[in-house]
Amino acid sequence: MTDREQYMPGPANGVQIRKDGEKWTLILVRELRHSPEKVWQALTDPAHLREWAPFEADGSLGTVGTTVKLTTVGAPTPHVSETKVTRADAPKALVYNWGNHDIRWELEAFGGGTRLTLWTNIGRRFISMGAAGWHICFDVLDRLLSGTPIGRMVGPDAMKFGGWQRLNAEYAKQFGIEAPNWPPQAAQES
């Protein structure tokens, strides 16, 4: 079996939500055994993003003021968002938007590695799905940085995967919300 086939995410962990009226924000924290410089490259370089992120970028996200097109991987209809990098303090802070989602990364040097934090707003109905998806992306990012990449696992690749479904249910329970009905009934019947 390949590393990808053997991969199974750990339990729901390291994710919090902040509720500010109707605006809900997902906060993910992960400690990585890699330098902030190395993590920064994985967050900004399109060739690195392709190995773990839920979107394709047509340019580097590492320069403030640049406009980059982000293509959602595996969306049911083609979906491209034009994003603007509003903050890029290498290797500490990175802020841009992904469609109507604000994406804010913070990299903190921590015991020879990096404490990586992601803040992103997300519709409340989808917050457990988002937490499960980013959790897996972080795992894949960690493997990539360690030199044992297992390949991006997003969109349909993630959703059909039992580990994602379990995380979705665990995060829904943790956040006290009802897990979204997934897969849809029509797909379950076929």
Binding site: A75, P76, G99, V154
Partner: protein
């Protein structure tokens, strides 16, 4: 081939869902999200297993320009058929919808036009039945 889904652009999917569900009386069929992408469909209560209407977020400048232009021209972005356009007009207007055209006789049908509050005009059409 079958037409199972047809799409309409909306400026806000939550607002669109409220309008199509609460004002027009449609039922939500599918709702899931992937990053900023959200696939959202509804179907009329009268035909819940019929063709679905996808409420697609309009974040595309070219589509926005087109949508605004046809709205300004008074062209409908979609057309729904009914057996009772007058009854629908009264029911929907009572729920606060703005009609830009009350039921009006035209060739072969009676039509009405309403604003869906999300950037579109919707035409309701009742076909005329002629006695032979």
């Amino acid at each position: 081939m079958k037409i199972k889904v047809t799409s309409i652009y909306v400026d806000d999917q939550d607002k669109a869902l409220r309008f199509y569900a609460d004002v027009l009386g449609f039922t939500k069929k599918t709702d899931f999200s992937q990053g900023p992408y959200r696939w959202l469909t509804v179907a009329p209560a009268e035909d819940p297993n019929g063709t679905e209407l996808q409420l697609a977020l309009n974040n595309n400048p070219a589509a926005k320009a087109y949508q605004e232009a046809i709205f300004q021209q008074g062209q409908p972005a979609a057309m729904f058929f009914t057996d009772d356009v007058k009854g629908d007009y009264e029911r929907i207007a009572a729920r606060g919808a703005e009609f830009t055209m009350p039921p009006t006789g035209v060739t072969g049908s009676t039509i009405a036009m309403l604003n869906d509050t999300c950037g579109n005009l919707i035409q309701l059409t009742q076909l005329a039945h002629y006695s032979r």
